[in-house]
């Protein structure tokens, strides 16, 4: 197995800076503030949503610290897949690769469903499903042709969407945009009691889901030991800012019963203010973040599938690179039927739930990879561990605990989804472990990473 996740990255110019890392992470995740998070309100009311925001936020701060240390140390584009491959084992690596793939594909479907729903609300004569298919096909085609320009555009789209949230928040608290209704909070504080508050945790990750993807550009960074930790932390703070502001605005502008079932809550909150400018800004923001996120997820999911194929966990047929566009075009095209299958259900919460389950698998494996990394390489040298995360591995253990607790809350309302999801990954783990036995592996720490041998081999 090679160290690179993608042959495209071999020999790439190392030009990316901290703001690129920020933009990559926030670009995929910011859509979570525009839709999906509000299902926490349906479960546990406003108090449930605040609880989910804080608990999931704490978990993701720790995940991003783990990702910063692992990303700046290994400097590989595969991110969680490569960390599990290097420090845990092949079965775990394939499991994480598949979980990343599923997490992002389900996210792509959710984005496409929301864009189609917005189109349907503007033009009621247009059906939702054909538009969803069209969007998925269009994004697949863009990624087939190459994504550099598209990702640059993503940064602009994301930044616009973020500014829209911040302007909306400050306009609201200064009294320029709508009246904030305390009675909406009181009537929808905790409709399902304490159990509802705890159950709301299941949708909490949606505020930040995918931020670990920021570290996946480490290989292309000019100074990954600076860019990855700085960009990752800046991205995490941006999402925490966005989530708090979004919850505050929406909870005071939309009654909790409507907020809990909304497909595009921020847009509806802007509509409630009656301000034409805010309605336009948040409508554009919703559209932009969905497109930017879906585009980024096609890119990341296809690279993950490509890596699994190249490392022989799947048929090698998917590992082909397009001779002209230099993209893993077969892996890119293969995202389409899977995304359509998710979108076919048409239920946003079901699609989001599978994405969250897949994400939580990663949030167990990322800190576990860090624990293994610290055991294998205890030294804090410039070569092996240039960025030393604080309070590790204690934070890694707490992260695993919180991820498992959040996963368990899916039992309320999505028990079958949880059982199906876990069964799917358990079968995948044993399948990939069995398949891996037939592959001949030569891994040399010195040759691949320039590191000494792990402590137990010295």
């Amino acid at each position: 197995m090679s160290g690179n996740t993608n042959s495209e990255h071999a020999g790439v110019v190392k030009t990316l800076r901290p703001y690129h890392v920020w933009a990559l992470g926030v670009g995929i995740v910011l859509v979570g503030e525009y839709m999906g998070w509000n299902f926490t309100v349906a479960k546990g009311g406003i108090l449930g949503s605040l609880f989910a925001l804080l608990v999931a936020g704490t978990m993701f701060v720790m995940v991003s610290l783990c990702a910063s240390e692992l990303g700046s140390s290994t400097k590989l584009a595969g991110g969680p897949y490569d960390w599990a491959r290097l420090f845990v084992g092949p079965g775990a690596a394939a499991l994480v690769g598949l979980a990343v793939y599923m997490e992002f594909i389900a996210l792509e479907s959710a984005d496409a469903i929301v864009v189609a729903s917005i189109t349907n609300s503007i033009f009621p004569e247009i059906q939702t499903f054909p538009v969803t298919l069209l969007i998925i096909a269009f994004l697949t085609f863009m990624n087939y042709r190459g994504v550099v320009a598209a990702l640059n555009l993503n940064f602009a789209l994301t930044f616009t969407a973020l500014i829209a949230i911040i302007v909306f928040f400050f306009a609201n608290i200064t009294g320029f945009a709508g009246t904030w209704h305390p009675e909406y909070l009181i009537s929808g504080a905790m409709p399902n009691g304490f159990i509802g508050i705890f159950a709301a945790l299941q949708f909490g990750p949606w505020f930040y889901l995918g931020i670990e993807g920021a570290a996946m550009c480490a290989e292309e960074c000019k100074h990954p030991t600076r860019a990855v930790p700085l960009g990752q932390q800046a991205g995490m703070i941006t999402l925490l800012l966005g989530s708090g502001m979004t919850l505050y605005i929406c909870s005071g502008l939309i009654p909790a019963a409507e907020l809990g079932t909304s497909v595009y809550p921020l847009f509806e909150a802007a509509t409630a203010t009656g301000s034409k400018y805010l309605i336009a800004a948040l409508g554009i923001g919703t559209l932009f973040t969905c497109l930017a996120s879906a585009n980024g997820t096609v890119c990341d999911a296809s690279r993950s599938w490509f890596a699994l194929s190249r490392d022989k966990f799947l048929t090698n047929w998917f590992a082909d690179v397009h001779p002209r566009y230099s993209t893993p075009y077969r892996a890119v095209i293969f995202t389409m039927p899977i995304a359509i299958a998710f979108a076919f259900s048409g239920f946003l919460d079901q699609v989001i739930t599978f994405s969250i389950i897949s994400g939580l698998i990663c949030y167990v494996m990322i800190p576990f990879s860090l624990i293994r990394f610290r055991k294998l390489f205890p030294e804090h040298s410039q070569k092996v561990r240039p960025f030393v995360g604080p309070m590790q591995p204690t934070l890694a253990y707490i992260t695993i605990f919180l991820a498992i607790v959040i996963m368990s809350t899916l039992n309320w309302g999505y028990g079958f989804n949880l059982i199906f999801g876990l069964l799917f990954y358990v079968i995948a783990y044993f399948y990939f472990s069995w398949r891996y036995k037939s592959i001949e592996i030569n891994h040399d720490w010195g040759e691949d990473l320039g590191w000494p041998e792990p402590s137990h081999r010295r």
């Binding site: 406003i46 608990v55 009181i186 504080a189 600076r226 708090g244 604080p390």
Partner: protein, 87 residues
Amino acid sequence: MVNKTKYHNDLKKDAGIIVLVLGLLFFSETFVFYRIMSTLWDAVPEVRIIFPVYLLFLVLLLGIETIGCITVYKSIKEHMYDFNYYD
């Protein structure tokens, strides 16, 4: 030869960005937390029971993020000459 003045200025810029976004984070999270809790404090009696749990996670979230940012700053300062961060 490393331009130490440039390095220190650029390091200050990095630190400035971190302090700015952290400040904004502290303001917005505590503001949102305070407004929601104070609105519900009298109207929903159960809030008083679960308030310590909320406070614990708010402190954890802001505390760990702050420690993380300080660690990032220290790491950049420690390695900036070794890896020529600002060239």
